[in-house]
């Protein structure tokens, strides 16, 4: 048996040698970026990094290519798995013959255990919080991994997908390269990093020994083109096959007019919310919060941004996430808004100083909201600062109203915990992004997280959303989808409806016709 395996591996190696990536087509991708940041997948937090990391790594399980729906999760590096009756012990059986990039050999359970421990450690991962429920990870044998949970989690498979901390890295490469791993990462994905030219491009080469099959595309040239105008011109001039797009109807329409171009609009949507600090004046008064909610006109915001690329927010969790409900957000009613303001002692109007980013997409949206609120007598005095400063200052609790737009793993628990749980309130030791200081739904969020009864879990998540919306901890605005334009010659090999890596997955089936 061992002899046969050695022969097969030898044959695969010879096929790999004979297979020449340079003879295959090159996919040219234009990205709105100055440069990539950290390519260690457990530190890949920006869109720019997430997109490229998605082409280089696998998880134990994966979203079906082109989907961001947890219902489509399917085997990836693990070919099957089973769990104990109490749902706390999970055993994953790995595929055999999965090869890492370069000469880093075959994937084993040691690599998986190392990767998951690394992803769960604050010093070596930006996503360690997602793994706090994992008690232990051990390699039972070279192809079996056992995970024991401290407490039940809503979706263990969700944490282990090809997303954020779920990516599996080569233990040997990570240990050998140390800090250098972040610029020379080794995974098992269909493409391997060849080189990064600063401010210019990241070049990837097909992984000939990819366990599914050798990719049909030989190389990917991932070009950093921060200027939207230049990137669009390069795409128009056929210097790019795939172009990062703007979530803007005018842009979409303009691209669609070009012959031989398809615009893909896909999930996950980012939900923009006005987070209101309920512990400080003026938003410590429910009537003021309700007035603000009534002043917002979501339909108008969608018309402004574009009906193809956005939709109205209907809860404090994005639509389509497991557990989402239409939570009964207050309708647009400027008359009622003025009446509520008068009732709260602000008959002559109200001015709120708000720290906001100068990032054009967010600033433009906020300026439209500013006009809507002004009609109801609420003046937003925008203090516009640079984006990194904005992030720092809102985390220092310096703004009573925070506009924040985000997408997360599509299960309600993550969004509810990070934005609306008392443990996540900013300026606390366990802070994440709770700017509203709301903790009224903590009991429901906590109970749902550990519940093993799916019906009860959904009910609790729904209840949490209703409480938060009634308390007007935040006002949902719009959900904005991701947009890419591609030449028709580029065939993904699957229908693109969603991608958790925030860019089109380039798989072994993707081809340039």
């Amino acid at each position: 048996m061992a002899g046969w395996r050695a022969a097969l591996l030898g044959a695969a190696w010879l096929v790999g040698l004979a297979w020449d990536a340079t003879a295959q087509p090159v996919l040219r991708v234009g990205m709105a970026a100055q440069d990539v940041g950290r390519l260690d997948p457990h530190f890949a937090t920006s869109t720019i990094d997430r997109v490229v990391v998605g082409w280089m790594f696998n998880g134990l399980v994966r979203f079906a290519p082109g989907s961001a729906d947890p219902a489509t999760i399917e085997p990836d590096l693990a070919e099957r798995w089973d769990s104990s009756a109490d749902g706390k012990t999970w055993t994953f059986h790995l595929r055999r013959g999965v090869r890492f990039h370069g000469n880093y050999g075959e994937l084993t359970a040691e690599d998986v255990a190392f990767s998951l421990k690394k992803a769960g450690t604050a010093a070596s991962s930006a996503f360690s919080a997602d793994f706090r429920s994992i008690g232990s990870v051990e390699a039972v044998d070279p192809y079996t991994v056992r995970i024991v949970l401290r407490e039940n989690v809503p979706s263990l498979l969700g944490i282990l997908t090809n997303y954020s901390g779920g990516y599996i890295v080569s233990k040997r490469a990570a240990e050998e390269r140390g800090d250098g791993f972040t610029r020379a990462p080794i995974g098992t994905g269909p493409f391997a990093l060849d080189r990064v030219t600063p401010s210019q491009s990241a070049e990837l080469v097909a992984h000939a020994e990819y366990f599914r099959e050798a990719p049909q595309i030989g190389r990917i040239s991932y070009r950093f083109i921060p200027s939207d105008a230049s990137r669009d011109l390069a795409f128009q001039n056929r210097e790019l096959d795939l172009n990062y797009g703007r979530s803007d109807q005018t842009w979409v329409n303009r691209m669609r007019q070009q012959p031989g171009v398809t615009v893909d609009i896909f999930e996950p949507a980012e939900l923009a919310i006005l987070n209101l600090n309920i512990t400080q004046p003026p938003f410590n008064d429910l009537r003021v919060r309700q007035a603000l909610a009534h002043a917002v006109n979501r339909a108008e915001l969608v018309r402004w941004r574009g009906t193809d690329v956005s939709r109205e927010g209907q809860s404090l969790v994005p639509r389509g996430y497991l557990g989402f409900i239409e939570a009964g957000v207050l309708p647009h009613d400027p008359v009622r808004a003025r009446a509520l303001l008068a009732e709260a002692g602000h008959g002559s109007g109200l001015t709120v100083k708000v720290i906001h980013t100068q990032l054009p997409e967010m600033l433009n949206m906020m300026q439209v909201v500013q006009q809507q609120l002004r009609r109801a007598g609420i003046t937003l005095d925008l203090q516009v600062v640079e984006h990194a400063t904005f992030h720092q200052q809102i985390r220092q609790d310096l703004s009573p109203l925070v506009y924040y737009s985000a997408a997360r793993f599509p299960v309600a628990d993550i969004y509810l915990t990070q934005f609306w749980h008392g443990r996540s309130i900013v300026k606390t030791p366990t802070a994440v992004t709770n700017f509203s200081h709301c903790s009224q739904a903590d009991a429901q969020i906590d109970a749902a997280r550990v519940s093993t009864d799916r019906e009860e879990q959904l009910k609790l998540w729904g209840e949490a959303q209703r409480i938060l919306v009634q308390q007007v901890c935040g006002v949902p605005l719009v959900e904005t989808l991701l947009v890419f334009a591609r030449r028709d010659a580029l065939d993904y090999g699957y229908p693109l409806r969603g991608s958790m890596s925030l860019g089109p997955p380039i798989t072994e089936r993707t081809r340039l016709r």
Binding site: A122, P198, R231, N237, Q392
Partner: protein
């Protein structure tokens, strides 16, 4: 001359030290936490604290300053906080692109601006002069990101002579030149406009001097009066503008690099600023400072060559 050179180089040392200190302070005055930028918005305070400790941004400022100066004085500018790549290697990879662009723009600016300025001065208040002044005003009025897009629309999209993406293969001289022409033209147009105006005004002043009248009275040929007596005496303000403008070119190259998607110091510095990459910003500022000091020193030396009175002073 050697003494003059030594004096100028010595004067550059305190300038460099002052700039290093200023850079260190400015970079840290800008609000924004590199750890938050790197870890993204889902990072826990634990993770942010761990990264701050690793990056050294949690250490007292004086300690960070001492480390920075110590390394800078030994020629070590460290590694990028964000990418972890050595800064010297990152800069070395893009510096040739920026130098190509700056030098080509400077040559373009001089070749276009100098004759235009002289010609305008020799035809004062005539159609040629008015045209030169109008065109130079246009050149100064158009920001690089507007003229760049216009040139791209014309030469890349309409006539398809040049590519939109201007990042060239440094090992291929033809490719390098091909992708350099359009950005250099864009950047050089503004410089040409400046040089035209300065040359015109310096030449007008020079040509109105007594020694020019004397030369004319002595029957010196017109060509010699213009190119030798007139231009040599007008050259000091022109050299000053060119020297100063190299600094502006380096600054303007940021926009040109972004519009034409060329790698370079400008793109690197914008990225470092957005990501609060302190070490990269410091390294880049040091390089900019060295380049500017070098250009200013070269300009001073050129003064000495053009006008021996400067050396004597």
């Amino acid at each position: 001359m050697l003494f003059f050179l030594a004096r100028r180089l010595l004067a550059a040392v305190p300038t460099l030290l002052a700039v290093l200190t200023l850079v260190f302070v400015i970079v840290r005055i800008v609000p924004g936490d590199p750890a938050l930028v790197i870890l993204g918005d889902q990072a826990t305070p634990d993770a942010a604290a761990a990264l701050r400790a690793k990056l050294g941004t949690d250490r007292p400022l004086w300690d960070q300053y001492a480390g920075f100066m110590g390394r800078a004085l030994t020629g070590d500018i460290g590694t990028s906080m964000v990418t972890g790549r050595p800064i010297a290697a990152e800069i070395a990879a893009v510096l040739p692109h920026t130098l190509d662009l700056t030098l080509a723009a400077m040559v373009f600016g001089i070749l276009l601006g100098l004759p235009a300025g002289i010609w305008a001065a020799l035809h004062r208040n005539r159609a040629i002069d008015v045209a030169a002044r109008l065109l130079s005003l246009l050149g100064l009025s158009f920001p690089v990101f507007v003229s760049g897009i216009f040139l791209l629309l014309a030469f890349a999209l309409h006539w398809r002579i040049f590519p939109v993406i201007g990042s060239a293969d440094l090992a291929d001289p033809l490719d390098r030149l091909h992708k350099l022409l359009l950005p250099a033209m864009t950047l050089g147009l503004v410089m040409a406009a400046y040089i035209t105006r300065v040359t015109r005004s310096a030449m007008l002043q020079s040509l109105g001097e007594d020694f020019i009248r004397t030369a004319r009275a002595k029957g010196v040929p017109h060509r010699r009066i213009v190119w030798v007596h007139g231009l040599r005496n007008a050259s000091l303000p022109i050299v000053t503008v060119v020297g100063l403008y190299v600094g502006i070119l380096l600054g303007n190259s940021v926009l040109t690099e972004i519009v034409f998607n060329r790698p370079g110091l400008g793109k690197l510095i914008v990225g470092a600023l957005n990501q609060r990459d302190y070490t990269m910003l410091q390294g880049l500022m040091v390089i900019y400072c060295v380049l500017i000091v070098a250009v200013n020193t070269a300009t001073d030396l050129l003064y000495g060559v053009l006008d021996p009175r400067v050396r004597a002073a």
